[in-house]
C-alpha cells in the first residue's frame, strides 16, 4: 500500500486491493494456529475510536491488533469526553499526545477519518464514516467472494436494500467495480435512487430482477437509525417486497452466495432459513474480517519508518 491511511476504496488502485487480499489470505493461517499470535507489531499502539455503536467491527479490529502483538486502546462514544462537549479534533489531539501508531475511527460524520488523516502523522483506518465508506468491510466481503468465485472479474454482485444509506454498499461498489465485477443494486426508490447509477452500477427496483443474474446477493440491514419518515411505509411491507426468503433464493443459481454485513434483522431483510442456509457465507465474512484487518494493520503500521539497511539470511 502506498498511502499512510485507508480512508476508502474510491480510487484505490486494483494492485493495492489485490495486495491487501493476498496478504489477508496468508494471515488467516495465524488464526488457525494453536498460538494465534505473531510478534509483528510488538510495541506498537493501535487506538480504536468508535463514536458510533459497533460490536463486531471494533472486536474484529481489536482482535486483529492483538494477534499482531500490538497494544490496543479503546475509546467509545459512551465512555469518551464527547458527551461532555469535546470536539473530535480535541479528542484526537489528546490521543495524539499518547503517541499512537494507528487509529481506527468510526464516526457518524462523513469525512471524519479524512480530517484526522490530514491532521496527524499516524495511520488512520476508516471503520465507517456516516454514509460514505466502510472499506475494511468491503475488503472482507471481496475476500469471501474471491474464495468462492476464484476471481471477481466479470462476476455479478447484487446489493439489495438501503443502498443509499449504506457505507458498506458504497465501499463494495467502488472496490468491486475496480476489480472488474458488475454491480446491480435494488431497493425501493427512496433507498436506491436512479442517481446511484453514476457510481457505475445498474439500478433495478425489484429483488427478483437481480437475484437470477447474481453470483453474489448481498443483503443490507435496514438501518432504522438512518431512516427518515416516508422512506419506507412499514417493515412488513419492506420485507414483503425486498426480503430474501427461500422462494426468492430458488430463482438464483444453487451456487449463488448470500452475504450480509451484519447485524441481521432476521425475518426483515432475510429469512432465518436463508441466513443459516447452505448458500450463506455470513460467518465466513466474520472470520475473514479479522484476517483483512490484520493485513491492513501489517501493511500500514508494520514497517517503513527510519532508514535502515538490508539484512540477508
Amino acid at each position: 500500500m502506498k498511502g499512510k491511511d485507508l480512508l476508502g476504496l474510491r480510487g484505490l488502485p486494483k494492485a493495492e486491493i489485490v495486495e491487501i487480499l493476498d496478504t489477508a489470505d496468508r494471515f488467516r493461517k495465524v488464526s488457525e494456529r494453536r498460538i494465534k499470535k505473531v510478534p509483528t507489531l510488538r510495541g506498537r499502539t493501535v487506538v480504536t475510536l468508535f463514536m458510533e455503536n459497533s460490536t463486531r467491527t471494533r472486536l474484529s479490529f481489536d482482535l486483529a491488533a492483538k494477534r499482531l502483538s500490538a497494544d490496543t486502546l479503546s475509546f467509545s462514544a459512551s465512555s469518551s469526553a464527547t458527551k461532555k462537549g469535546e470536539t473530535l479534533m480535541d479528542t484526537a489531539r489528546n490521543i495524539d499526545a499518547m503517541k499512537p501508531d494507528a487509529i481506527i475511527i468510526r464516526h457518524s460524520a462523513g469525512g471524519s477519518a479524512h480530517m484526522l488523516a490530514a491532521a496527524f502523522p499516524w495511520a488512520v483506518i476508516n471503520a465507517g464514516d456516516g454514509i460514505n465508506e466502510h472499506p475494511s468491510q468491503a475488503l472482507l466481503d471481496m475476500l469471501t467472494m474471491r474464495d468462492h468465485l476464484g476471481s471477481l472479474e466479470g462476476k455479478t454482485v447484487a446489493i439489495v436494500g438501503d443502498v443509499f444509506h449504506s457505507r458498506v454498499a458504497r465501499s463494495n461498489i467502488f472496490g468491486l467495480t475496480t476489480m472488474g465485477a458488475k454491480v446491480l443494486v435494488a431497493g425501493p426508490g427512496t433507498m436506491c435512487p436512479p442517481s446511484m447509477a453514476h457510481l457505475g452500477v445498474e439500478v433495478r427496483h425489484t429483488i427478483d430482477d437481480v437475484v437470477e443474474e447474481a453470483d453474489v446477493v448481498m443483503m443490507l440491514r435496514i438501518q432504522r437509525e438512518r431512516l427518515r419518515p416516508g422512506m419506507m411505509s412499514s417493515v412488513n411491507e419492506y420485507s414483503h417486497f425486498y426480503g430474501l426468503d427461500m422462494d426468492r433464493l430458488r430463482r438464483a443459481s444453487p451456487s449463488t452466495l448470500v452475504m450480509h454485513p451484519g447485524p441481521i434483522n432476521r425475518g426483515v431483510e432475510m429469512s432465518p432459513e436463508v441466513a443459516d442456509g447452505e448458500q450463506s457465507v455470513i460467518l465466513e465474512q466474520v472470520t475473514n474480517g479479522v484476517a483483512v484487518r490484520m493485513a491492513l494493520l501489517y501493511l500500514l503500521v508494520g514497517g517503513e519508518s527510519a532508514g535502515g539497511k538490508s539484512d540477508e539470511a
Partner: protein
C-alpha cells in the same frame, strides 16, 4: 585472504550430497526427523536434501516451510515491505528432531526468527541447522550443524543462490561485490 568464488551446478550437487550424508550419519533413517526450509531460499535446498536422503535410506523425510516475515527484527528499518510467504508444517513438531534448512547463513537473524516461528507451532526435541553456504559476518551467536561451503565475503557483497526444486544444470551460487563486480 583468498577470495572464494561461487559454485556451479556440479559443485552445488556435490555439496548437497555431502550435506545429506552428514545428516544421515548424525540422525539416521528419517523416521522421527523432518526438514523445514526457510522461505524462500531454504525451500529448494530442503527438498533437494530430502530427495537425496530418500535415495540413500529408502525413506523420504517429511518436509515443511517456515516464513519468517512476521517475526523479522528489521520490519521497521525502511526496507520495502516483504511479501508474506507460506508457513506449512504438515506434521506435529513436538517431540521431533527438526533440521532447519536455509540457502545462505549470514547474520543469523533469519535463523533466530525461524526458531521463534517453530516454537509458536510446537516444541521440537531438537533443532539442527543445515545451510548450503556460510558466508560469515554473524551478528548473533548462531552456527550451522551442517554447512555446505564456507565463502569468504565482504559484508557488502551479495550472495546469489539459484536452485531449482529438482536437479538442474542451471543451478549456481554467485558472489556479487559492489566494488569488484561478480567474483
Amino acid at each position: 585472504m583468498t577470495r572464494t568464488t561461487g559454485m556451479n551446478a556440479i559443485e552445488v550437487g556435490r555439496t548437497l550430497d555431502r550435506l545429506a550424508t552428514e545428516i544421515i550419519e548424525l540422525l539416521g533413517v528419517p523416521t522421527d526427523y523432518s526438514l523445514v526450509g526457510i522461505v524462500t531460499g531454504g525451500h529448494p535446498v530442503s527438498e533437494r536434501l530430502a530427495d537425496r536422503i530418500e535415495v540413500a535410506t529408502g525413506v523420504r523425510p517429511a518436509t515443511g516451510t517456515v516464513d519468517i516475515t512476521l517475526y523479522r527484527d528489521d520490519l521497521y528499518t525502511g526496507l520495502e515491505k516483504p511479501v508474506l510467504g507460506e508457513t506449512r508444517l504438515p506434521f506435529d513438531l513436538t517431540g521431533q528432531d527438526i533440521v532447519l534448512v536455509d540457502d545462505v547463513l549470514f547474520t543469523g537473524r533469519t535463523v533466530r526468527a525461524a526458531l521463534d516461528v517453530l516454537h509458536d507451532y510446537g516444541r521440537p526435541r531438537s533443532v539442527k541447522l543445515a545451510v548450503l553456504v556460510d558466508r560469515g559476518h554473524r551478528e548473533l551467536p548462531i552456527s550451522a550443524d551442517f554447512s555446505g561451503r564456507f565463502l569468504v565475503t565482504e559484508k557488502t557483497d551479495r550472495v546469489e543462490v539459484s536452485l531449482s526444486l529438482s536437479e538442474d544444470s542451471g543451478d549456481f551460487v554467485a558472489v556479487h561485490s559492489p566494488s569488484r563486480g561478480v567474483a
